[in-house]
Amino acid sequence: MSWAAPDDIFFSTSLAAYLDKKILVLLRDGRKLMGLLRSFDQFGTFVLCFFLCCLLKFPEEVFCFCEANAVLEEAYERVIVGELYCDIPLGLYIIRGENVVLIGELDVEKEELPAQMVQVSEAEIKKAQKAEKEEMLLKGLMRKRMEFLDLD
């Protein structure tokens, strides 16, 4: 199978334009993965589905779930807590399309993060993450207790 040309209108949302480039993948659980896009099978299921639809006499109703599974090389997770961040190396990742929210191509000439962000170690970011989680929990708890006041 050859990659669809980017100007082909039917296949134009193809990820082929991002191949071998550094990309950011936002996942449904809020995690941010970065790495080089090495492969994807966005329309891999398409051919099969087309065949199926023709078989069922719905040639005009070609439909299949778009998966947009992706393979990331040199992947790392970027954890951001406030103004701290940390890149945790992950190696080679195959991401199942249903978990993907957004795939962004990074502009290599632009700063990836605002200048005031500080890189910290994995241990430190884990600690910050935990502190943030506890703070959120406490906030939720306080709000619950104050609910009878009918604020905002």
Binding site: I9, F10, F11, S12, T13, L15, A17, Y18, L24, L26, R28, G30, K32, C53, L56, F58, E61, V62, F63, F65, C66, A68, R78, I80, Y85, G97, E98, V100, V101, L102, I103, G104, E105, L106, D107, V108, K110, E111, E112, L113, P114, M117
Partner: protein
């Protein structure tokens, strides 16, 4: 029939195809809102944007250097369109035709 149910996408697919090249704001289900030029759309309503900028940049520092992006159709909440990009009458007619099943 499951396959028939997805017919409803077709109207919006062709509708969005006409909007290619215009500036739109896509709001996702995780509250992230992205403005950019609509590059392309497919039958799952996946969207590709160019020259993107995030509406609330301070809240999403990791999006700073993203210029082009692919958004999975299933996570889109709203697409804000340019006011002159909508032919309301045409959309009305098409939607009614679709609803009648013809």
């Amino acid at each position: 029939m499951v396959l028939r149910g997805f017919r409803r996408f077709r109207l919006f697919f062709s509708y969005f195809k006409d909007l290619v090249g215009q500036e739109v704001t896509v709001e996702l289900k995780n509250d992230l809102a992205i403005t950019g030029t609509l590059h392309s759309v497919d039958q799952y309503l996946n969207i590709k944007l160019e020259n993107t900028r995030v509406v609330d940049q301070d809240k999403y520092p990791h999006m700073l250097s993203v210029r082009n992006c692919f958004i999975r159709g299933s996570v889109v909440r709203y697409v804000q369109l340019p006011p002159d990009g909508v032919d309301v009458d045409l959309l009305h007619d098409a939607a009614r035709r679709e609803a009648r099943g013809g």
